[in-house]
Symmetry: C2
Subunit: 456 residues, 2 copies
């Protein structure tokens, strides 16, 4: 391992140049006009895999290809690591506020500025370079390795989700590592051990057959805006908890130990939360801390409401319908379909006979949580400790990353979210950047990780 670390240090400049080559490819997955560049990036990654000594296959999908590669030379008795990443990027245009061309990487004070620098090209590439460093110096790896690098993470990820459902066993491994995240500061590496699930829905309240004049019919018709507001208002208790029977039935309760871990983890201080949100005061389940509410508790949020006319001036209308869109964020062991059924039943229960109510399912993703005491988790802790130089904190993520649940639940392995970026790297915005020191620390951590997994 020491030879591999030495090799990585010696090849640092070349590794950076290779990353810059990848950053120059505008692999924007949302915009069909960039499809040739997305394909080019897939081929570039496949080429790199071959160069470092790993097989490479470009798997076509309905949209953007999946790049898959493996090195199984450690044999059937050795552990296997699945490395996930994505080679596609968010859109970026110089006019959005970039100081330099987003697809012409520029290094300033040891930081590279380019779209995808940290999300996710700079991060997933550390694992390729770690594998290269070990293979080139040792001629072998301490574990089998599979690479799964997709091209639709920034645009829904549906092709991979479908592929995993159909061919997930190709990706079977003892542990999956994903470096596509961030830490609050360079001395606080963060392992995300839980992501929330989601189920999206819409509620449509139908009232009169057509829009009515508010003067001619006001006071005799149950206004759909009001009826929908009344339903929404009843879906939370005054204490901030969700008023949907059964909603919390499958929630795994937080242990005292986990609450302490969350309290000492990389979450928000109240002041940070206040500064980030700008909200007048916090709201929600007061018996849980803000970080617990974000990561460890299910929520029900309304993300859209439309009815009647809310533009300039005033229109004297009782609208025929009003619509609200929303989603529940779920934690282990909640099930999106079951939660949707509960919400639908409760809305129908609350709906008065003066209107007709429709509740439609929109989308869903499973929650996932990895036991922090799983042995693989200890490998990641040790890798950070030795490769990064600091012990990590553990964090529950409030957002949803369906691939984690797909791999965790469909393929059946612990998924470790081991980010090598900073919270302030500016992902999805202008001037996205990545410290080259973190790129190299990431490579070292990945080298350590592969050796740590071999000891499990």
């Amino acid at each position: 391992m020491q030879q591999a670390l030495k090799y990585a240090a010696e090849q640092a400049t070349r590794f950076e140049q290779e990353l810059f080559d990848l950053l120059k490819i505008p692999s924007v997955s949302t915009d069909p006009a960039y499809a040739p560049h997305v394909q080019q990036a897939a081929e570039w990654v496949a080429g790199q895999l071959k160069v470092i000594g790993v097989t490479a296959e470009i798997i076509p999908t309905g949209r953007h290809p999946i790049v898959y590669g493996e090195w199984m030379g450690a044999g059937p008795n050795a552990k296997t690591v699945l490395i996930y990443g994505h080679y596609d990027v968010q859109p970026a245009d110089k006019a959005d506020g970039w100081s330099t061309d987003p697809f012409e990487p520029v290094v300033k004070d040891g930081v590279v500025y380019a779209r995808g620098a940290t999300d996710d090209k700079g991060q997933f590439f550390t694992h390729l370079k770690a594998v290269e460093a070990i293979l080139k110096t040792e001629g072998t790896l301490p574990v089998n390795v599979k690479f799964l690098i997709e091209g639709e993470e920034e645009s829904g990820g549906e092709s991979l989700a479908q592929y995993v459902r159909e061919h997930g066993q190709r990706f079977a491994a003892d542990v999956c590592i994903i470096s596509d995240g961030s830490m609050p500061s360079v001395d606080t590496p963060t392992i995300v051990y839980s992501v929330r699930g989601i189920v999206g829905f819409e509620i449509i309240v139908h009232g009169p057959a057509t829009d009515l004049h508010s003067g001619m019919f006001g006071g005799t018709v149950h206004n759909p805006i009001q009826a929908l507001a009344e339903i929404i208002a009843q879906l939370h208790h005054p204490d901030g908890s969700v008023n949907v029977p059964g909603f919390y039935d499958d929630v795994v309760p937080l242990s005292e130990a986990e609450r302490q871990m969350i309290a000492s983890g990389g979450g928000y201080t109240f002041e940070q939360w206040q500064q980030t949100t700008g909200a007048p005061a916090d709201w929600g389940e007061k018996q849980y801390t803000i970080n617990e509410r974000i990561g460890a508790r299910p929520t029900l949020e309304f993300t859209g409401f439309a009815g009647g006319y809310a533009g300039q001036g005033l229109k004297n209308v009782i609208p025929a319908r009003a619509i609200a869109k929303g989603s529940a964020r779920l934690v282990a062991n909640q099930d999106p379909q079951k939660t949707f059924d509960q919400i639908k039943a409760q809305v129908e229960r609350l709906a008065p006979p003066t209107v007709r109510v429709e509740v439609n399912y929109l989308a869903s993703g499973l929650p996932a949580a990895v036991d922090v005491n799983h042995p693989a988790m200890q490998a990641a802790v040790n890798a950070y400790q030795h490769g990064w130089g600091y012990a990590p904190v553990f964090k529950r993520e409030g957002g949803s990353l369906p691939i984690v649940a797909d791999l965790n639940n469909h393929v059946g392995m612990p998924v470790l979210l081991v980010g090598y970026g900073l919270d302030t790297d500016g992902i999805h915005g202008p001037n996205e950047h990545y410290a080259l020191s973190m790129f190299h620390k990431g490579i070292e951590t990945s080298i350590h990780f592969l050796y740590e997994v071999s000891k499990l």
Copy 2:
């Protein structure tokens, strides 16, 4: 009077031809492209006034002119009648579904089809022809007469409102008659004795400083959509009454006699209400009938709600703000400003400390109600009885007609809404039409009305 009625019968065909000439002028007030035609219509009306023996003045305004004329030959001891009407019309295009050109009047089975046939050219013109018939046969009128024919009724009416505020005493009279309405059937003439006032407002709920990710912050921020829904849900009691302290303080209670009058008046049967609205069930203050709720009770309706994203799919956002627009319809003796202050105070009282709430005033109009026992009302009843051939019913109108309150309150006179059209005349839509028999009945009724007022 008999001579005048005879004259009107003899001149029927000429009267119709004159009306058709007016209907040919496309005096669409909302569309600036039609401004020359609006001016042309004003000049046509002024010319007619002069021909029948009344003074005529075209009063310029910031937009469309007001036509004013008077005949004061009955002397200072005689009664004075103000006749209001409007010579402008709604837009109309053959492509909207008209069977014939909307500005080429066509008579079919005794019914004239043209834009403005019933709203309001055909109706206000009856009063001119009534005055002509009396003046030509008697050489004098039993009362003084003032004509106020405006050109902005279909586009806000603000020029006249301003003129009434500044020069309202020019229009002073013992009674104002307006024929710009309709009856459910030809044998049920309808006197509208009350129109509701209105005060429009908006409620804006501000939450976080910017839109937030619903996964990253859901459950810790009071979602503005939810907070606004909670406020709206509290603004009505479960019994359908408005939960705003003081809201009903100035409402003149309905007497048992008036309730009986409303019950026997030209309102909706429950079946008609159901068919017109298509709502699953009625809603509101159950201790009042549907017609009472529409015309005699104040209401609070939400006419618009917008927050977050409610288009196709789902956007994972907690919006920074949510907005609702609404209006209260007011009955005598409620005051729009006072009602606005009460709503604002209540919303501020209901607003939780987790959000910031803004309540803004948008627009208002005063309510108006004329005592059905006022002597002038009896003149209208007798005129319908003798001229139309049927006794009228009395109705409270749910909508707002600010000119009624402006004349009633600013100038100080009872305003009688004596419609000569049918509910089914298709105003504002394609194939607007008017039965010529009703045109002639209107002229006869107007002749009777002027004599009836002279007896007061």
